[in-house]
Symmetry: C2
Subunit: 422 residues, 2 copies
């Protein structure tokens, strides 16, 4: 089954927005074992749109179209598709009523231009939009099934998952059922993962994909079977095997971020944390507090950029700062212990390092990072040198810090990524 993706809109073509719809749709198709062969974007320009629709109908079994379903003069997808294939547009009273009631619910009157959103090509199946006024639709044209969705990402993603995915699967009919999962790993490089799992990657009913999303690596097992239940059962088995083999290298599945996983573990255990950040500059705290409900387990943090802040707010001994410098093992340990004590929490975590691009010396090069974790009766610390650009350096450091919290709660060894080691 060949698929292609069309996105429509001047704002995409002018580079005003980065088009994330295409990668989302391609990823979802891949989850059904369907390869996207073409991605095309055109302006809100009927001849270009008609040409793109006709080409899609000549070469793809599935065409996902996003954008151009709004109420303005620039929204021309429905008209262009109807013109491309010589179809009449028919007003759907039920859709019109729904749009009108949406306006009423917001205390407004529907304007006349919204009527266009209730017109669909003859033979189209209407796909309701639970989040906006623009319904989508699906229509078959020769060998090709078109799915037209709004361009607004949250509307498009929900309609893709709830309405388009089941229809594509059903349309595929006789073929095997396909199911995929995403396992999120941190701490091992892609080639090592590949090597560790090569027997699984080569087994008949499963294919194992890899993807890097710095600083993580994702595994994507995909199973084909006669029924969806069998595919799910195969996936269960494969994921169990992978988890047994990789152990704590896997931190989550699907959309679970590391900060969400850590937050949930802390909440379940009724434990609390605080952070003392130097080189990460607040990034660990920002990531933790991205999670709604983080106040249940996050007491707070200190961003101690200056030495004075390290002594005054965290109680780092002036002697340690003077003798070893701010980027040192004794200082990072004192920071972790200090923040744990000041905030009265179960776990204190600390970072100090040189994210660059300047500030390095021969003995303390740019990229050097010290991390410490303090808990009841113990402090663990380690150092690494990561030679990479500042933003990535900070992101990686924050990932190790979060991972150490997770590893502490799991009772496993606190290790860094197996790439570079001081």
């Amino acid at each position: 089954m060949k698929a292609e993706i069309l996105t429509i809109g001047d704002e995409v073509m002018r580079g005003e927005i980065v088009d994330t719809n295409k990668s989302f749709l391609a990823d979802r198709l891949l989850g059904l074992d369907i390869e996207t062969h073409f991605q095309t974007s055109v302006r809100d320009d009927p001849p270009a749109m008609i040409d793109a629709f006709k080409r899609a109908a000549s070469r793809s079994q599935i065409a996902l179209v996003s954008g151009g379903l709004g109420p303005t003069r620039d929204d021309l997808t429905t008209d262009a598709l109807a013109e491309a294939f010589g179809l009449e547009l028919i007003l759907d009273e039920a859709s019109l009523e729904r749009i009108r009631s949406l306006f009423h619910a917001h205390g407004r009157e529907m304007t006349e231009n919204n009527v266009s959103q209730a017109r669909f090509p003859e033979g189209a199946e209407i796909l309701p939009n639970p989040l906006g006024t623009a319904p989508g639709f699906s229509i078959a044209q020769g060998m090709t099934r078109f799915f037209c969705l709004p361009g607004v990402p949250n509307e498009m993603t929900r309609m893709m998952d709830e309405q388009v995915m089941p229809r594509i699967e059903a349309a595929r009919g006789e073929g095997p059922a396909v199911r995929a999962r995403l396992l999120r790993t941190f701490g091992m490089g892609e080639s090592t993962l590949d090597d560790e799992l090569k027997d699984i990657a080569a087994s008949g009913d499963v294919s194992l994909g890899f993807r890097t999303s710095f600083p993580d690596n994702y595994l994507r097992p995909l199973a084909r079977a006669a029924t969806a239940e069998q595919a799910e059962a195969t996936l269960d088995r494969i994921c169990d095997t992978i988890k047994q083999r990789l152990g704590p290298l896997i931190y989550g599945e699907g959309e679970q971020t590391l900060e969400a996983v850590v937050g949930q573990m802390l909440a379940e255990r009724g434990m609390t944390i605080a952070v003392a950040e130097s080189c990460t500059g607040g990034l660990i705290a920002t990531r933790i507090t991205n999670n709604p409900g983080s106040s249940a387990y996050f007491a707070g943090g200190v961003v101690s950029y200056s030495n004075a802040a390290k002594s005054d707010l965290l109680g780092v001994p002036a002697a340690a700062l003077e003798e070893h410098g701010a980027v040192s093992d004794p200082v990072v340990r004192a920071m972790a212990e200090g923040v744990r004590e000041r905030f009265g929490v179960d776990i204190g975590i600390a970072t100090t390092g040189i994210s660059g691009p300047d500030g390095g010396t021969a003995s303390k090069p740019v990229g050097l990072i010290h991390i410490a974790l303090a808990r009841e009766g113990a402090v663990y610390a380690d150092s690494f040198v990561f030679r990479m650009e500042r933003t990535r350096h900070r992101l990686l450091t924050s990932q190790i810090a979060l991972d150490w919290i997770r590893r502490t709660l799991l009772g496993v060894e606190l290790v860094g990524p197996k790439w570079t080691r001081r």
Copy 2:
């Protein structure tokens, strides 16, 4: 002049990466007043690539191609382009020598597959790659000029700016010179900006574009003139007019982020800051410290998620917390003063609020935010209600905080955005 953009690579087509190259290239073309009519992505698949190249040659004067210039078996752009137009591939000894010396500089031997990166279609002009091993090239085919660039974003962007942009301008020949700038504004909605500047937008030799990049709005004046100097002079004049009219609503130009502007202003004045964050959770500190060299003016911060942290680390009076609650005017003022005093800095800034999705009450709804700025002898505070999703709420709050620092240094009124007001 019609342009189109082609990006090539399985990783794009599988949705593994969001393709930001297309929006970058489209934006740069727009800076030369050239509209992108088509964007196409194909897999590392010669028939699809050849088809895309031929279509580009049939309809566009400029085709920007990104990706597929690497040394692996999957990198097929050069071969496919040569095949599409019946061109020989010719080894360029100078490029080969440069690739070999790059390997030597890293203490490695060049492998045989890198030789492919030194082959170019006959008649191509080679575009050196200052950051990687893959050179690009430019070649004319009928009415179309192709520019082939690597897919790696930092290599591609630099080669586009330094090598492709001047060539496109030269190739355009007789037409008017075009120059564009980007002015970054914060605090006024797009429709109000449009209204304020409508006489400029309508003047003959300038067109004024608008773009929203939450929470900012960008203005893009574009001038056409007989020579580049005249276009620049027109832009100077227009930008002066816009700046006079909008005053401190404009905070920067081009790639300057608000945190970079604020950092530069602080460094120039030799002043220092510290932040006390509750609902923003470290985001203000993170943004400030994204800037290399921020340790010159940023002493640090406290993320005071818990009430205990607010009293113990910032000296917020327990009575204020009890009487008014953590999200209140007296508390945010005490936080700003407390952090200023504890860190011994010139300016202390504080946030406390309810970013949601939960935690609101009738008198303190979700979206409520208090911000305060303390300086020598004065504390300024205000509150707003922004009904928006958590991540945007935090980002907007951090933007106001940074903007207040800028406004304090400029000696102008500390105002919030003119959208919603409590």
